[in-house]
């Protein structure tokens, strides 16, 4: 049995390619760990043992035939249960789709299959992506591996829990307004929200279409870049994808930050918890010592971001879910859970006759101002650094009956979706044994720069080596 806890994608790829380990053996090891820990963590809704082992055999055959391999050959991954996977049940975390088996793959899944990954299973989430804690799943909450009484962050809760507890080496999420970055921060992982339109959304169940981005979790920055190399790029089936050239995100990742101009948006630090502030500033100091210059900047409309987001997002949620009829697949609308109903009602209201101008249209105007804030600031600096979450991972149950408090968990992570800019959340330490993350934010299509900065910081700290105590 292979010890799954010490591996990264980078190492595993070379172990497989150099025939030091067999993909089947590796897959067995990850499946065993996933099956064992899932009763504790509830990270997976479905574990696809048979499909995973079949795929692993296929990859081992390719290797013994000396055939060419995809860049992620044999890598075990978890997939948020919002991505359509042909022949594998896809629930969106909702009882509405409890019996839905897609007949086609989302573009991301097709690309991952072409890269020869092994899908271990489909991960838990807040139903339809609606949530910041994972507790809105109709299949029960996921637990934070660092403290089982706390949330792992959401909505891509199971994906984060699965990677950090070594049930897989990468997992996929969606980020409409926190859903990759918050769980990455709460689970000591690297999580990317790419530029809007960098990664195809085709075949991923839509939440709010002008905000949805397709991201992923890994333990290290290098691994994260490796995965984006596979998922990024134009897709004729998603008209919002960009035709801009895709970089090799791992190339020059060691370039360093010498001469890089880093901005600290003062609105994010003003009332920040003092421990989180200290840990974030320590990280900034490390980048300064590595040659970056630091200056304070301002994103003046930051205080309106959550209000803007909680008009636009539910409006688009209501519009997308208005089309759900239960005629072609799934169950009827009466199976929607509480949070989906709440958002549908709020969004239907903000789009309704008489209120459209005061809410939706107003929010679309403020959204322009928020985006201009970012445009302006990136004339002065190359990247921004700010906290990912205003608090440590909170207790399960703490915010479930107070939707407004839950929505305010997203206070530092919604502006980037409104502006469409990329953001990489990287681990930046621990407070009272709980992980803390920080965001590296850049202009549109600057993912490469974010990885270079993240990599430089990670070399100094290696927080990913501090694992949750899950036993073996």
């Amino acid at each position: 049995m292979i010890d799954t806890t010490a591996l990264t994608i980078q190492e595993t790829c070379s172990l497989i390619a150099s025939k030091q380990i067999k993909t089947v053996e590796l897959t067995h090891s990850f499946l065993d760990r996933a099956k064992k820990l899932n009763s504790k963590l509830n990270a997976f809704i479905t574990i696809c043992e048979e499909i995973a082992l079949k795929q692993a055999e296929k990859i081992d055959d390719l290797i013994s035939d000396n055939q060419s391999l995809g860049p992620l050959a044999g890598i075990p991954v978890g997939i948020k249960d919002l991505y359509l996977t042909k022949g594998i049940k896809t629930t969106a975390g909702s009882k509405v789709l409890e019996n839905y088996i897609p007949v086609y793959d989302s573009t991301s899944i097709a690309r991952l299959k072409e890269a020869n990954v092994v899908i271990i299973g489909k991960t838990n989430l807040d139903a339809w992506g609606h949530g910041s804690s994972g507790e809105n799943s109709d299949f029960g909450p996921t637990k934070n591996p660092y403290d089982l009484t706390r949330v792992p962050g959401g909505s891509s809760s199971g994906s984060a829990a699965a990677v950090v507890s070594d049930m897989c080496l990468a997992a996929f999420g969606t980020d409409t307004g926190s859903s990759v970055r918050l769980p990455a921060a709460f689970c000591n992982l690297v999580g990317l929200k790419p530029t809007y339109g960098r990664v195809s959304r085709y075949g991923v169940i839509a939440m709010a279409s002008s905000l949805d981005s397709i991201g992923h979790f890994t333990k290290t920055v290098y691994d994260n870049a490796l995965v984006l190399n596979v998922t990024a790029g134009y897709d004729p089936r998603d008209s919002t994808t960009s035709q801009d050239k895709v970089s090799d995100y791992t190339k020059d990742i060691q370039k360093g930050v010498n001469g890089l101009k880093i901005g600290l948006p003062r609105e994010y630090f003003k009332d920040l918890d003092k421990d989180i502030k200290k840990i974030t500033m320590d990280a900034v100091k490390k980048l300064e010592n590595a040659g970056a210059s630091i200056q304070e900047v301002s994103l003046p409309h930051t205080q309106y971001a959550v209000a803007t987001y909680y008009i636009i997002q539910p409006s688009e949620v209501s519009s997308n879910l208005a089309r759900y009829d239960g005629i072609r697949f799934g169950f009827a609308r009466d199976k929607f859970g509480q949070e989906a109903k709440r958002r549908i009602i709020l969004g239907t209201f903000t789009l309704s006759s008489g209120y459209y101008d005061a809410y939706y249209l107003k929010a679309m105007k403020v959204r322009r101002l928020i985006k201009e804030d970012f445009n302006n600031v990136f004339k002065k600096v190359d990247i921004l650094i700010c906290p990912t979450s205003p608090s440590l991972p909170f207790k399960l149950g703490e915010k479930v009956n107070n939707p407004l408090q839950m929505y305010l968990s997203d206070i530092f992570v919604v502006s980037q979706n409104l502006a469409g800019v990329p953001s990489l959340s990287v681990p930046c330490g621990f407070i009272r044994n709980l992980p803390v993350g920080m965001q590296i934010v850049g202009p549109h299509f600057s993912e490469k720069l974010l990885y270079q900065a993240g990599y430089t910081y990670e070399q100094e700290t290696k927080w990913y080596e501090r694992k949750p105590k899950m036993g073996n």
Binding site: S239, S242, F329, I345, S352, S353, D357, L361, P403, L404
Partner: protein, 110 residues
């Protein structure tokens, strides 16, 4: 009591007419749900109403995010799902079609 907005005038409010909105959204809500949503969404509205502080007199609503606009494609058919696949998840089918409840009543005058 809450009043239904009938004219097309901009207005901020702290209450949502839940019955009317649930009907628009085609959701059957229980009385308990209505009560809960009324209270919870009232607080959310109070919060989002703060957008009113922002002067947007000369600001146009945003219409694109990354400069990708007016994307079209050739109107050419491409391979798609087979009829069998399309029907695979349908709760009710009839002779290769989706089956639904009748939309119109039989003796509907006019």
């Amino acid at each position: 009591m809450k009043k239904r907005q009938t004219t097309n005038v901009k207005r901020l409010t702290s209450t949502i007419d839940i019955d009317h909105t649930a009907k628009l959204a085609n959701l059957d809500l229980s009385p308990a749900e209505k009560k809960t949503f009324d209270a919870q969404l009232g607080k959310v509205l109070d919060y989002i109403n703060k957008l009113n502080e922002v002067d947007t007199k000369d600001v146009l609503p945003i219409d694109q995010i990354t400069s990708v606009q007016n994307v079209t494609r050739e109107d050419m058919p491409t391979p798609s799902l087979s009829q069998d696949d399309a029907l695979k998840n349908a709760p009710r089918t009839y002779n290769g079609f989706f089956e639904v409840d009748a939309v119109f009543e039989k003796n509907n005058p006019e």
